[in-house]
């Protein structure tokens, strides 16, 4: 019986070394590439007709575009338009990564904290730089909460600074933890079904219960996959809004 966390092991498919660092092409990297390729193919193929009345595929592609477009203009406003390509790419990459991970025998790269943390850190640094370039030293007033009693201000500044640095961590942990927990749970229930049916005799029909749970959980995981891509993207939009508008 396989361990339920065995699915998360990184296997290197091609040994590579660069300046003494191990940069092997792993199964994680393979699925990141697949996410990029599949999403590019999907969007190009779906939009090839450019029909006035969209078909199913074109409808799906347009729905994704409009969803993110509304999200950006809803949270950031018209100043957010220049960042739309990045936000859309981020959403599509995460969505396809999460969804591809649900296919049996595939690998979920978003279940690796390194992947999600680097994404979040990149966004965090980028958003901070945008805020600094847009507002200069005025950016520092971001850490002084308005409306607070004077005596408490030094204390509150520390809390605000900490809560600012919490952002990349909570952003990445949320996606990573959801994917890790979901996929472990799927594997546990699948293992349970196999074990019970393997027990044979009168116990075997009992395997139907974990199997039914597995069907339900798979549905839930599809929801979680889409939802977590959405959460990651909308929080990026909110951080961007903070950076552009301060308060």
């Amino acid at each position: 019986m396989h361990s339920p966390v065995e699915q998360f092991t990184i296997k290197s498919l091609m040994q590579l070394e660069l300046f003494g660092y191990d940069v092997s092409f792993s199964n994680s990297a393979l699925f990141m590439m697949l996410a990029v390729i599949v999403s590019t193919l999907f969007l190009t193929f779906a939009m090839r007709g450019r029909n006035m009345v969209p078909g199913r595929l074109q409808g799906a592609a347009e729905m994704m575009y409009e969803f993110i477009s509304d999200m950006v203009s809803g949270t950031v406003g018209s100043e957010g338009r220049p960042y739309f390509p990045f936000i859309f790419t981020l959403f599509v990459f995460l969505l396809f990564g999460n969804m591809l991970g649900l296919i049996p025998y595939s690998y979920t790269f978003t279940s690796q904290i390194v992947v999600t943390f680097v994404l979040a850190l990149f966004i965090f640094i980028g958003v901070t730089l945008i805020a600094i370039f847009k507002h200069g030293t005025h950016f520092l007033t971001f850490f002084v909460p308005p409306g607070a009693p004077k005596v408490l201000i030094p204390f509150l500044i520390i809390i605000e600074v900490v809560s600012y640095f919490v952002r990349p961590v909570s952003l990445s942990v949320r996606l990573f933890a959801n994917m890790l927990a979901g996929h472990t749970m799927l594997k546990v229930f699948a293992g349970l079904a196999v074990m019970i049916s393997g027990a044979g005799g009168v116990y075997a029909p009992g395997a139907i219960l974990p199997f039914l749970a597995l069907v339900g959980l798979t549905g839930l995981e599809v929801l979680v996959a889409a939802l977590q891509a959405y959460v990651f993207t909308i929080l990026t939009c909110m951080y961007l809004n903070d950076a552009i508008h301060l308060h």
Partner: protein
């Protein structure tokens, strides 16, 4: 087709609406629970926010201690400050302020037009 004109008319109207919407992007998005996904998304955020607050606070404290050579001092102080930061984040989230800063009374009219999202 007979209703071609009608379709073109309504298309023009919809293009007009879309352009108006693009020009005034923030109007239609004031309601907090615009879609059920927003409410669902809140569930997962609370626990991570609290844990991440403590973890990041402790880590910053530990870094300060490494730098100043006062090992347990700042780690302990920032552990509690981190927990508070987590709480503040959850409170802001639960009261629908998003990531906004500040401690104003949310019902004051002069604050209503500021930074709605």
């Amino acid at each position: 087709m007979a209703n071609d004109d009608k379709n073109t008319d309504s298309l023009d109207k919809r293009i007009g609406q879309a352009e108006h919407h693009l020009a005034n992007p923030k109007q239609a998005h004031h309601s907090r629970a615009r879609m059920p996904a927003d409410a669902m998304a809140l569930i997962g955020r609370i626990a991570t926010e609290l844990v991440a607050g403590i973890a990041v606070g402790t880590f910053i404290g530990w870094m300060l201690d490494q730098w100043l050579g006062t090992l347990p001092l700042f780690m302990i102080i920032l552990f509690f400050l981190g927990a508070m930061a987590g709480m503040v984040n959850i409170w802001r989230m639960a009261t629908g302020q998003g990531l906004k800063l500040g401690y104003f009374d949310q019902h004051r009219p002069d604050q209503d037009n500021n930074n709605q999202n």
